[in-house]
């Protein structure tokens, strides 16, 4: 069984999670068995979708679509238990203060635990969640970069042993375009656009990756925009005029990156789910 990994990242607040959900919905609709994964220790989708709980164990959301929250601890526990095959021994380890203290500070252990889990099926190592596609609602750009860099850093710091070997395997999977897809979500605003340009540059130079760009929350153009020309300063019309100008400029900047660019409209006055469902139409599998 092979598996595809779809990573969605972007500056904080750009709409990563909604986009990730929309992609997951589209793929599930197309017949793929999808697991939507959020990273961290606090679930966003729980509130977004009004679910009672979202944990590590995949929760069925719809046909072909399950959701899971991958925290570093849950991933590591899964991994260790898989190899130990003994609950008692496992408890002995995890309840030991010293072991916990060391794990708390072990460099990149959190990142590797997560990546290890995400790539386990592709590497044929460790317990894996068997789905056709994993859609990962990734961390914001800075943290996401740290995540991608972790395997190589670990392999360099610790030159032998299981973690090191596994790390190289993880690095290979992440750089394999047959397996991994990267999407960067951004907004028509200076800071997100600048950050996207920098992030793309890093991904290309350091990892040889070609991400897809998603420009989100665009105000749909009016049929007649000439009426905005005479708008008073500080009025709604003036705001619209400025935004349209901005959107044009930022769009051009993104086009210059020569990557696949998808433009998504701003959807106002909808519930989160209506929102994700509408966005879904923009993602053809």
């Amino acid at each position: 069984m092979s598996q595809k990994l779809v990573f969605v990242s972007g500056k904080g607040g750009v709409g990563k999670s909604a986009v990730a959900l929309a992609m997951a919905l589209q793929k599930a609709k197309a017949g793929e068995k999808v697991l939507l994964i959020e990273l961290g220790t606090r679930s966003y989708f729980k509130d977004f979708l009004g679910l009672s709980e979202v944990g590590y164990k995949p929760l069925k959301y719809q046909d072909n679509l399950d959701i899971s929250l991958h925290s570093p601890e849950a991933c590591l526990r899964d991994y260790i238990l898989y190899f130990l095959r003994s609950e008692t021994l496992f408890k002995l380890f995890f309840e030991n203060k010293i072991a916990r203290a060391l794990m708390d500070v072990a460099p990149a252990l959190a990142e590797l635990s997560i990546l290890g889990k995400l790539t386990s099926l592709s590497r044929h190592h460790g317990p894996a969640f068997e789905y056709d596609t994993l859609v990962v609602d990734g961390y914001a750009t800075g943290h996401f970069l740290a995540l991608l860099r972790a395997p190589k850093a670990m392999a360099e710091a610790i030159d032998f042993g299981p973690m090191s070997e596994q790390s190289l395997g993880m690095d290979r999977v992440l750089k394999n375009p047959q397996i991994c897809e990267y999407h960067i979500v951004t907004l028509p605003e200076e800071m997100p656009i600048l950050e996207t340009e920098e992030f793309v540059s890093l991904l290309q130079n350091e990892f040889n990756l070609k991400p897809n760009i998603i420009l989100n929350k665009l105000i749909p153009n009016l049929h007649d925009e000439s009426i905005l020309e005479m708008a008073e300063e500080g009025s709604f019309e003036a705001y619209l005029r400025e935004q349209f100008q901005r959107q044009k400029i930022f769009s051009e900047r993104l086009n210059r990156l020569n990557l696949k660019l998808t433009q998504l409209p701003m959807l106002i006055g909808e519930t989160p789910l209506e929102f994700a469902t509408h966005l879904q139409e923009h993602f053809h599998v």
Partner: protein, 350 residues
Amino acid sequence: MFKGIKVLVCIGSGGVGKTSVAAALGMLAADRGLKVLVLTIDPSRRLATTLGIQGELGVVKVPNQQFKGELYASVIDHQKTFDDFLMKAAHKKIDIERILKNPLYQKLSTTLSGSQEFTAMEKLLEMVESEKFDLVILDTPPAQHAKDFLEAPRKISLLFNDKIAKWFRGPDSETTGFFRKMMNQGTVQIFKILEMVTGASFLGQLKDFFGSIYSWQDQLKERTERVHDLLLSEKTHFCLVTSFDEAKIKEAQDLEHEISQGGYHLKTIVINRYFPDWLKAQKTFRSVEVQKAHEKFLRYYQKREVMFNNFQKTNAQGKVIIKLPEYFEQVQDLKSLEKVALQMSEQVKD
């Protein structure tokens, strides 16, 4: 707002404009006659240029300023702060050299989980103890949980706790077998698992590391305790930054709860991107299309306002709330920062 305090810590989840707010608060304080230092962790290049700290080490006086007081800024140099701390704490010179040469140290100091937070706190403590500033404002890394940031120093200091060090400082020189003679079966198992998870080389280097730091463990512990006391002090206030967005407000609620539970003094909440200037009640529009768009935007923001009012009732009692409306421009240059500072000034006494 700034009366009687020495430290202001800005916390908040990612993407809320925390760093810009910290800088604007610095300007506000400087304008009120204080000598202020803004400590940033990872400012955008534009903001760093505005503050005069792009590519600069150490503390810089922000250029082109005209305040009653003075505004300084600095980016926390992670590696240098860690090294400086080491120099101060070690008793013998030979210990320092040994540590600096330890390949694990070089990696550890920057990649140890929590080390960034540790150096941020260490820098904060250093600046406060220098007594060169009336007020130090600390910008923090974005956090889902405030405790990730606040407990980081304690986690690092636990690592240097004597119990752990003893684990490694066995009589043997072998990395894997040295303690087997003295420890019980359970510990051996634990060690095996740790080895599997982190690698034998990591543990071996850690052993060497502990041998080197033995002499200054107590210094580290003391330093960590001082940071902890500083954070809990009445003269240290926390400022929670959030934005006018459903998800961010929920995160802010959790953060506020955590901070209050911890006994820290959270006195101010800054809500960014509030109801915008350009979305006032408008009677006439240039076309039906525009009117419809206006209606949509209005409904959108009104919904968020309801949410925010709930937040205010449950989490913001007794706190100063500063609302910053959305601007056309992005807050990055001096002019827009000043605009933000002015907005804040109108809502904040003293």
